[in-house]
Amino acid sequence: MKYSYINPKKKSVFTQEIQLLLSFFSITIIMLLLTYSFLLYKNYSFKQDKETLTAQKIELEKSFSLMEDKISYIEKQKILSETIYTKNIVLKDSIANLFDLVPLRITLSEAQLLKNGLILYGITPNKDIYNFMLQAPLRSIFHRTYSSFYPAKDGWFRFVSTNYIDNQEEIEEDE
């Protein structure tokens, strides 16, 4: 027996209020999940960037160290080359000075330039010319000067002049 003229509606658990509540929380949860995903992605990206930068920095450090070595080596080359060029120029001037030092009346037959000395072989008309015109300037340059004479056939004298410069250390030791 029917008590109503309309058919009964099935009652659902998802009432309008529940649907509203669920949609509200769904939106909230979606937003939270999106934020969380964003944070996860950014943290991963930061980690990757950090690793890349660290690797690049290590490469730069290697390259920098290599460049430092190259710079220091080129500077060494530069210093050595300047020393060599200066030594060559000084040597040239020394030889020029030596030949300028010998008076016209004295003829050299041999000159040996040593690291710390000079040995001259030659011929002089007499000992005085040698003593005044060659030995005197040599004495002013060298610390020790030794001369020996041998008579030549025409009345001139052959001489051997041995001259040494003492090392600064030896001089200091003597003092």
Binding site: V13, T15, E17, I18, L21, L22, F25, T28, I29, L32, T35, Y36, L39, L40, K42, N43, F46, K47, D49, K50, L53, T54, Q56, K57, L60, E61, S63, F64, L66, M67, E68, D69, K70, I71, Y73, I74, E75, K76, Q77, K78, L80, S81, I84, K87, N88, I89, L91, K92, I95, A96, F99, T107, L108, S109, E110, A111, Q112, L113, L114, K115
Partner: protein, 184 residues
Amino acid sequence: MSSISRQYIYLMIVSMVLFIFVLLFSFLVLIPEGKEYRTKRVELKKITREFRNYSNFHDETEETLQDLRSKNRRIISAFDTIFNPDRFEKENKSYFSELKVSSLSEPTAENDFSVYEVNTTSQISSPKSFYDFLDAINKSAYMIAINFPIDFKRDGEIIKSSFTMKVYCNNKDTNATASESKKK
């Protein structure tokens, strides 16, 4: 009345569950992750700044190296060039009536360089030729130091001279360091 009440309780329970979930999720997951994000961002900024500074410094050093290379090109090339006695004789024979260069001695190490000793015998017409030779040595393709003893001996109208030369080259291991060109 009883149906409203049940509905209300049901609503309350769902609300509470969802609210607790949101709270727990926020405090246990989202906020720590956010903190980590902030820390990492600051750290990355710091690393980026440091890297940029280091990179600038690296570039400046590279510029210095290029500058040094271009200014000292002749010196670097002279240290790189292996001494060739025949070529040396050919290049310098104009200063001498006769020039003979002995073969290279075994190299000795001097600081970071290899040093070869070469004995030279020559004949010159006047000391001026020797001065010109010494000037030319400083402009030659090799790094050469004229070394003692130097002997000049008169023989009629000519002067026989003999002297030792020290030829400086890069050590094999450092050679690459100095002369390597920038490959980019």
